[in-house]
Symmetry: C2
Subunit: 343 residues, 2 copies
DNA sequence: TGTCCCGATGTAAACCTTTACATAGCGGGT
DNA sequence: ACCCGCTATGTAAAGGTTTACATCGGGACA
């Protein structure tokens, strides 16, 4: 019973007095074995405590039950909630989740590639448009893959993302409803897909509210706290002040708030500020940041579901799944200060 | 070269004009094969792009190159930084990291047990003293394991933790240096090892400063924000106020700050508050929290190193590795308010 | 020159499954 | 009575590796 070596299918077969083929069938295709035999086998399994050896199985089948999840940085708090969704979905289908992070280092990426080539993972989940494996020739050998947040490899693989445009739209609409007209957009890099989409939501919202183009102040940066602060400085220098700062992400928003506070202003009395992403710290900022919450766990769940489907069907249900994000209203937005009314 | 099916050891052998045994040896025990042969094999490997099939290897060797990391909650931001350390160390030794989270659900734990029994993981990393697998009989079959933060299974397996007592000592010493004498300790459960150790540091510090026992106010709770707030209320009701609140963790500290602010007090002017752990939000609290930083990545690195050693040697270097945490001074501590001087 | 030993290599078994194919038994249709 | 077809089961190969054991060749030593 509690041998030193684990029970094999042969032990089960001997006890159940059948062949190993029958045991295998009783486990994986029960409908193909007579009910009485099935019973004997199940008893034998219970007695021996048999678990099928995953290595042997994977070897025979030519594919493992592991999914490799590669992110630029596992330490990122945004990552972990997505991971929860990924893991739950995988587990409930008998798959395990293997993690890796590239830290934008090509060398590490190659190591993961070896992992894949040695058949250790049946599928791959890739984060944020990174193309971790240098040569495209290598990429051709990639197992079924799904991207998260952004398409990877020229859209050659399906991905699960967020409807950033709709999220941005919700933010602008909130600001407009509060009475703002002169709303600045503080972005990161114009090349990033998220930037484009969020910017599109911003433009669409202002268009449909009839806000003229000359009231739209757009600043770019690199998405860091520092770049948010810098954007504030630039706007003050040019003396073209908005009443609200709509930021491309929460980091930037924090930078903007710090920059504004440094100049002695109160938020939201003097200026309204919004973020995007709802990072864990957003609640703890002063004031608590109004932002867009990413449905992170759901993203993970969908991405994994898509991948598993890819693994069985061979074809993805869709090339793009966009989830709808929610507006989280906290305390960083109010009506425009009368102080700027005359401008 | 870029076949549809990956190259096997046989392909390499054919090209190098040697037997597959020689190829295997050239890879794993190069000193046992003649230099000229080694060269031919290496060339053949380069030509074919061969990677050894991990499944076949694990099957033959009877052990995989995966480490299973089980935590109660992967979504926990504290977890992710540790994961970074774990992953880096594992990867650099050719191991992969498989993750799982139990969510304190026994059913899920059993699923992970299956992973272990089916040989998919050679080792196990366990978080926070959870004993995820119900029956101890099953536990007996566990692969080499290492605990994180607290010993597991009656200390039967080695673990990597933090010298909580020293951390707590650093906090008390800071408070004492600022002039505090009446320092409350807001703990969680008396049964938790972390509580005991942190409490020990608190007592030791006050002892060596000659603070009498009657000035020591100790409250217990469950470590949540709410329990911090409740502790404040209790102290106010009894009207036995300290000048500083030393909390067992950051959550509790936040609760204490909220409770204090709700009564109209200013921190750190009226009361000093300290935490423990340095969660990501600690910087963003108002005021930013003075606390003890856990060397998280380092913990992960050490734990994995210990496990890998266990896997090769069979014996752990030590049963307990305690890392030294650092004091992070922010803005939640100052000298005691003169307001309470007369008490 | 014969013997021994040692280093380098090859042969084949074993690791545990899954599954194509073969076999056996049996009921039913003609 | 014969055959067909169907169901339940068994046999054996294959999947890619590692490694104990066998083999072979050559150098050293007597």
């Amino acid at each position: 019973m509690s041998d030193s070596t684990p029970a094999t299918i042969e032990d089960v077969a001997r006890i159940a007095e059948v062949s190993i083929a029958t045991v295998s069938r009783a486990i994986h295709t029960p409908e193909k074995v007579a009910k009485s035999t099935r019973l004997k086998v199940n008893q034998a399994i219970a007695i021996t405590g048999y678990t099928t050896n995953a290595m042997a199985r994977s070897l025979r089948l030519g594919r493992s039950n592991m999914i490799l999840v590669v992110a630029p940085d596992i330490g990122d708090p945004n990552f972990s909630s997505i991971l929860v969704g990924l893991e739950n979905e995988a587990r409930s289908h008998g798959y395990g989740v293997l993690i890796g992070h590239t830290q934008n280092d090509a060398q590490r990426a190659v190591e993961y590639l070896k992992f894949l080539n040695s058949n250790q993972a049946a599928g791959l989940i890739l984060f944020t448009g990174i193309l971790p494996f240098g040569h495209e020739t290598i990429a051709a050998r990639l197992p079924p893959s799904v991207g998260i947040f952004e398409p990877v490899f020229n859209g050659g693989i399906p991905y699960v993302g967020v409807d950033d445009e709709e999220g941005a739209r919700k933010v602008v609409d909130l600001l407009l409803a509060e009475g703002h007209r002169k709303i600045a957009f503080i972005g990161d890099s114009r090349t990033r897909l998220a930037y484009k989409r969020r910017r599109a939501g911003y433009d669409a919202g202002l268009n449909s509210a009839g806000v003229p183009a000359e009231l739209r102040l757009v600043q770019e940066g690199d998405g860091t706290l520092e770049s948010g602060r810098a954007a504030v400085e630039r706007l003050f220098v040019r003396d073209t002040l908005p009443t609200a700062f709509m930021c491309v992400n929460d980091q930037t928003a924090l930078g903007v708030m710090i920059g504004l506070k440094a100049r002695g202003y109160d938020i939201p009395r003097d200026f309204s500020v919004t973020g995007f992403d709802d990072v864990p710290q957003a609640t703890f900022m002063t004031p608590a940041l109004t932002t867009i919450r990413q449905p992170r766990t759901l993203i993970g769940k969908h991405a994994m579901a898509l991948l598993l489907e890819l693994l069985s069907n061979g074809l993805p249900a869709e090339m793009e799944i966009l989830l709808r994000p929610d507006l989280v209203v906290r305390n960083s937005v109010s009506t425009p200060s009368p102080r700027w009314r005359e401008r």
